[in-house]
């Protein structure tokens, strides 16, 4: 393999003809890093019939594109070995991947193939002279670890670590097309089909944003208000036991000692007092926001942010402000 450059590579994650929002976070940060390191920002785009996506990657100095039928459906083998082949030509200083289902698979497999150091769950990257330091999150956020990266490193980055706006640039970048390597001709894993969710049963342990209701919801008829808020945030509705016991939501939505243990990025607790049995199910959420009329409700002891107020007043106000921000 050749000697490493100072280039920053960003692996483009995409599905159904759309680039994943996190890719723009990585491109934005990648641009800054590339400038500081004196290298180029390279967007690495693998897939099939992906030409149309290149024009959304204007933040990159160049797009490295490998377009092949065998890269159409994601498998770690095909994609990692393709990037391995790209790295035969040039090794980047940094390869940034999203810490996603596809990203973590690809990054770990690639790191094993090319024997390049890897750092996972990164939420901060700094250039300090010629050194590059990465800050990773461990143990569900209870620990942070700063590592110094050597001449090349593969990073998986947590969503929300960097602002996406910096990665959205209206420009058509130059595209370098590479042929797929011989390695992917060998049959390995093959995607048979994609199964979409039925829409009936949501696995709330996998949803990153949860809007939770407790007794404060009072009546089943009040649920649509909460469901609208959840939809706006792209999350799901869940509940504490009493709501489930009433039959207003299915058992699959129960959070707590007798239900699911969840660790979402955001847990919005509305009208939930915070009984220990419920806290057990959600206390490790990354960000907990609680709304309750009772200033002494135990939920405020574990929440990061709290509003003492009537949820039926707070929700409409919140929806209005969120809608305004999303439109902007």
């Amino acid at each position: 393999m050749s000697t490493p450059s100072q280039d920053v590579w960003v692996r483009v994650e995409h599905a159904a003809g759309t680039v994943a929002p996190q890719t723009y976070e990585l491109l934005g940060k990648g641009r800054d890093l590339a400038r500081e390191l004196g290298g180029r920002l390279v967007a690495v785009l693998l897939g099939h019939h992906v030409a149309a996506l290149t024009q959304t990657l204007g933040a990159a100095d160049v797009v490295l594109c490998v377009d092949d039928e065998r890269l159409g459906s994601f498998t770690p083998d095909a994609h990692a070995r393709t990037i391995q082949a790209l790295m035969e030509e040039a090794i980047p200083r940094l390869l940034l991947c999203g810490a996603t289902s596809a990203g973590t698979d690809l990054a770990a497999l690639l790191a094993g193939l090319v024997s390049v150091p890897m750092v996972v769950n990164v939420r901060g990257i700094q250039v300090d002279g010629t050194r590059v330091l990465a800050t990773s999150q461990l143990c569900g956020g209870k620990l942070l670890c700063e590592t110094e990266l050597g001449e090349s490193a593969i990073l998986t980055v947590l969503a929300g670590a960097f602002p996406a706006e910096a990665g959205i640039v209206r420009r058509v970048p130059p595209v370098e097309t590479m042929a797929p390597p011989k390695a992917i001709e060998q049959t390995r894993a093959q995607v048979l089909r994609l199964i979409e969710p039925s829409g009936e049963d949501v696995d709330i342990t996998r949803v990153p944003i949860l809007v939770a209701v407790g007794r404060g919801i009072q009546r089943k008829e009040n649920l649509p208000l909460v469901e609208d808020l959840a939809a706006l945030l792209g999350g799901a509705v869940c509940a504490s036991r009493p709501v489930i016991d009433q039959g207003w939501l299915p058992l699959s939505r129960q959070v707590g000692k007798s239900g699911m243990i969840v660790k979402p990025s955001l847990y919005l607790a509305l009208g939930i007092s915070g009984a220990p049995e419920h806290l057990e199910g959600m206390r490790n959420a990354e960000m907990i926001v609680a709304v309750n009329t009772d200033a002494g409700a135990p939920i405020f002891n574990v929440a990061h942010y709290g509003i003492v107020g009537d949820m039926f007043e707070v929700i409409p106000a919140l929806v209005a402000h969120l809608t305004r921000r999303k439109a902007a």
């Binding site: 007794r215 009493p242 016991d245 058992l251 000692k257 007798s258 009984a275 220990p276 057990e280």
Partner: protein, 392 residues
Amino acid sequence: MLSALPRPWQREFNPCIQCGICGGSCPLGHAMDSTPRRIIHLAREGLLDEVLRSTTLWLCVSCYTCSARCPSGLKITDLLFPALRDAAMTAGLQPPAEVKKALDSTYRYGNPFGEGPRKRLEWTKGAGVPVPVISQLRRPVEVLWIVECYPAYHPRNQRQAQAMARLLTALGVDFAILGPEERCVGDCERLAGEQGLFDSLVEYTTSLLNRYEYGEIVTGDPHAMNSLRRIYPGAGRRPPVRHYVEFLADRLDALRPVLRGRIPARVTYHDNCTLGRAWGIYDQPRALLRAIPGLTLVEMPFARESALCCGGGGAGMWLDTMIWQTAHERLSDRRIAHALAAGADILAVSCPFETSRFEDALKSTGNEGRLVVRDILELLDESLTARSEVQA
């Protein structure tokens, strides 16, 4: 799959005359595939497959009603259901998820919450009086207080442990606790059918208790008393084990003068299963309540031997989802109606499980504010510190 219970159990249940009193008395008998009577019948006939796979197995809350009434004196609560649960789990059948989690946590951390052992001392910080740990005292004590898991870890029950510390101090009792060394006594785990786990807890606690010198053991947890007193081997040869209602009732003469505050309220007492049906302790809690100035004691329907379980006994604390899904009711909802019927302002309890269960029941039945739930310790403490919160 086992085709029959091991020999000793079959012999144990030969005296059953199939009268059906157990099934008729069981508070959840109507929701079971097979009542206890039928289960004994099937077990004797060697038809265990049906029994081990039935929902009945995981509906028993160990309330001792069947055992208390059985004319043949069969130990249905203490032997039959735990043995069947043990057999089911050994055969690879999975208990309800909540039960699994509680058993896993107890095995690993010594408590069903899965909390760290060091956190057993957290509650002592808010007690307002020193709470000595016996390993640090390095001398014999009059009373070794086994706090148990709920009073140590559950926020609602920590207040009760703190109240008990203040009461013992006010009475000049020389006491100490085990602290982080303490592990669950295991009564509920035993009733849940985990005999192996219970055996390992017995080994541990027996060896721990043998390291210290103390006059007697006092506990606020009826279940701990249950196992320590009767099931732990050598129980008869060791210092006595009593529940706080027994201990404090013995000291009423010393207690009355320090109960300065009036609690002018109508109070009804719920007889919990273990102190009540299992041990016949009905008078002492009432005597304690009557000692509080201004307090009027009223009886609710189904008192004493006929009290309806709150649903928490034995493994009941870990069977809420199972019972709700199968029976579509909560025993605590049924029982709170009795307390309300008595026209009480306060429902007094003496088992840690009950406070939260009955407070929840008030909310889910839409009766919040109509009465409050207090452990006897909390009422005594309120009177002790002349800090009554409840008016008639």
